[in-house]
Amino acid sequence: MELNLADTKKWIELFVEKVEANTSELNELDTAIGDGDHGSNMARGMAAVTDALAKKEPADLAELYKTVAFAMIQKVGGAPGPLYGTAFLDMSKKAKETTDLAELVQVGSDGLKRRGQSDVGMKTMIDVWQPVAESLKSNDLSKSVVENALNSTKDMVATKGRASYLEEKSKGHLDPGSQSSAYLFEALLEVLGE
């Protein structure tokens, strides 16, 4: 599956909207098992993305992803800045070779793993990115794939990120980064018209 430049831009814009509409929900999730700022962090990033896209219309997919990546790296800080930033930066590089969405998302997920020194099952956003990448490959991404991926983080014990300090007590709560990533892929589904 491919996504052209216009649709990819729409994807990002929808992502921005969703995060901005749910900033306090993300903060609340992060209050339970982190330091309560995931919404604020992401919102700062989304404002930067909007600014950057308004300043210069990206010429191609690679430039679009790079713009998103740089905005997030330079404005978010904390964990999600380098994580989303690396994912989108790696996608930008990959977009020079291919426009296949499944491949791009897989490269993004691999970027998360590299930057976060983490993998699936650690109660991080990778638990959403990786299943989504896989279902894109088999062409069956759906709302329920995203939902299930997100919900799977609820009963996990965090072993990376701030929530890991809580050890067993991190169980029973959704991972905030997985929720923001779920917004990203829900936005994608909307663009894909599903």
Binding site: N27, T31, D35, G36, D37, S40, N41, R44, I73, Q74, K75, V76, G77, G78, A79, P80, G81, P82, L83, G85, T86, R115, G116, V157, T159, K160, G161, R162, S164, Y165, L166, E167, K169
Partner: protein, 330 residues
């Protein structure tokens, strides 16, 4: 929430701006960033490995308050409790590199580690010699394969002091990184909270404690600790923390350094009473304290609480801890 601030989103830039304006003989701001760099006359004159630290804001005087001759070359301030971004760290690295390389002192939080790593990659692309050490002195969190590892807390300031002294004395980058790791491995901290901090953007305390309760093992970002208990007299608190920390040291000979650190809203009066109890108990246990310091060094906004750091210290380190520096906060 009652705080002396303007808009929440302006907190960090305004704070850094105030700090720099009030101390322009010591530090200056790196344009377009919330990073500060040494501005004393010696900085330009004397060559040394650059020492850069930074992290989320809310722990003042850490880190900007430790920029100066004999401590940090630069410090980078992120948003409240949020790691600074790589581009800001990168600017700080460039501002202090004198060709001898730069050592990054990072507290062990995934955000900090990742942002500093990215900055390191950026600096490496410029052929700047660069290394980093990660401080993880908080023993209240188990260090296991199942966690991010131990958190970096108040011990960070002792690491910055020793590394700063060694860098000033002309130590090279590799040796500094090795020394830093040794110091980190010898430094152990546990903290207690009487009242949680209020993150300005959140507007209420991060957790609630009863009128007679304290929490052992809290972090410097409102991370919960290992147990909530009724408050005890200072002597008992000191005993509990000393017991917990000293069990980490198998060798109790030689000298130790002690830091009693206020979390932000705990008055010096209480810190000195606690220090008295700590130093009395250590003396009774025949532990030799070669260096001690009391005060608000690594705070957590308006948290009420205290932490105890004990370091098993080489004689050299004790000397380095005692060397005079020209910083705002040491």
């Amino acid at each position: 929430m009652k705080k002396i601030i303007n808009k929440t989103e302006d907190i960090v830039p305004e704070m850094i701006s105030g700090l720099v304006k009030a101390n322009s003989d010591l530090v200056k701001q790196i344009e377009g960033t919330t990073a500060v760099v040494r501005n004393d006359s010696k900085f330009a004159e004397e060559k040394q490995v650059g020492v850069v630290s930074g992290g989320g804001s809310g722990h003042e005087p850490l880190h900007a308050g430790y920029v100066g001759d004999g401590m940090l070359s630069a410090a980078v301030a992120g948003e409240v409790f949020t790691s600074p971004t790589p581009d800001q760290i990168y600017e700080a690295i460039k501002a202090v590199d004198q060709g001898l390389g730069v050592l990054l002192i990072v507290k062990n939080y995934s955000g900090d580690v990742m942002n500093f790593d990215m900055a390191k990659e950026m600096a490496e692309a410029d052929d700047i010699k660069i290394k980093s050490i990660v401080v993880n002195d908080d023993i209240s969190v188990e260090n296991s394969e199942f966690t991010q590892g131990k958190r970096g807390v108040a011990g960070t300031v002792l690491v910055e002091k020793i590394i700063g002294a060694a860098a000033r004395s002309g130590m090279n980058l590799d040796d500094l990184a090795n020394l830093g790791q040794k110091v980190i491995d010898s430094t152990k901290t546990v903290g207690i909270a009487l009242h949680a901090a209020t993150v300005p953007a959140v507007g209420h305390p991060g957790f609630e404690l009863g009128d007679d309760e304290i929490e052992y093992g809290i972090g410097i970002h409102n991370e919960r600790g290992y147990s909530v208990e009724k408050i005890q007299p200072s002597k008992e608190l000191a005993h509990e923390l000393i017991k917990k920390i000293m069990s980490e040291f198998s060798d109790r000979t030689g000298h130790f350094a002690v830091l009693i650190n206020g979390m932000g809203a705990t008055p010096l009066m209480e810190q000195y009473i606690f220090a008295n109890d700590v130093l009395n108990e250590l003396a009774a246990d025949k532990i030799s304290v070669g260096f001690s310091k009391v005060g608000n060094q690594v705070t957590s906004l308006d948290m009420q609480g205290i932490s105890l750091t004990i370091m098993k210290a080489d004689d050299d380190w004790i000397k380095m801890l005692k060397e005079p520096v020209t910083t705002i906060g040491w």
